[in-house]
Symmetry: C2
Subunit: 224 residues, 2 copies
Amino acid sequence: MTARTPDSARDIPEATVARLPVYLRALTGLAEDGTTTCSSEELAASAGVNSAKLRKDLSYLGSYGTRGVGYDVEYLRYQIAREIGVTQDWPVVIVGIGNLGHALANYSGFRSRGFRVVALLDADPDRHTDVVAGLEVRSFEDLETIVAEHDVSIGVIATPAVAAQSVADRMVASGITSILNFAPTVLTAPEGVDVRKVDLSIELQILAYHEQRKAGAIETEVLS
Amino acid sequence: MTARTPDSARDIPEATVARLPVYLRALTGLAEDGTTTCSSEELAASAGVNSAKLRKDLSYLGSYGTRGVGYDVEYLRYQIAREIGVTQDWPVVIVGIGNLGHALANYSGFRSRGFRVVALLDADPDRHTDVVAGLEVRSFEDLETIVAEHDVSIGVIATPAVAAQSVADRMVASGITSILNFAPTVLTAPEGVDVRKVDLSIELQILAYHEQRKAGAIETEVLS
């Protein structure tokens, strides 16, 4: 049989999946401000999307809010977190403990979303005496043991570009099925393994687009 | 008058703007592989979107490709880069030179997209003797001088959460109009200033969603 989920009728479009963490973050912000209910307009504004799209997205989760009241912030948070799977505990290994690996190991946003860093691995023996975020940096040779021991399915690559593909291959061989790649290179992986690449410059490019248009507007103002 | 751009009829939807850097990255990958023309399907697959959406997005740029041939990779790259504004040189300052600031200063993906880091600033005098990515770490007190000298419009915040808002306020006062925030906190800024927040856990959450569904699929397979 093919690897379909039991309720494939409820398959959520990929673009909606990508926005769910953004809604979760917005809802967490609202909850922290003491907000207990919110309208779709408020939530959409916090998340930076239009409210029609938000309502459509949430309808995939069976969440429609209450007319005249809006959404229950805590309940919607729970629904989204459950849908994404971050109500579970996800053990994660990080490979490559340079500056970026250090920063990721210390990143508070992982733990609070259900991601638990269980091991930090590096190929450089000089780093094996370091303790980062309470964890000893271990040899990359320990990968298979750690993946088996902690039942790790998600690996994070923060190595230089040149090492990333061989790290990915070894992760896959050890049983890891999701890879988050911070190395500035494109990775290939067999079917069934999800690879996502973080490009830290994407957000800067979006800012540049708006800056360019602001600059255009100022020129027009000066000339008119 | 209001701050509208000269050609506001060509206003590109925000979701399309957010995808342009993704297309640019995919095109750069194709060009590096020696590909000179590509179909919308090929480009869409590289960028991870559907091809109808890609064609719609590119139509805002006046790019329709050639029937039976597809898109000219180099020309489309240039069109998108010009639209985003990354054919210009964007001087950038980074404030907060801990592990993440170090990693960002060394990140090769900024320079290759037209972002030039002109200064690294930190409030901690102990860091002022460090040289990172060929730049001396300077006092945060130098912000105004540097912004004026290099005509900086984009600032990157990589400080702890507690310092981020005061850094943002000072950036705005110094004339910066776009802020990229890596600190795990929500910033407020006056109208006309764009703030974008990078949440490093978003991509992990998308992987978790798919992992959860893979796990569901395996259970079904075992039970059936």
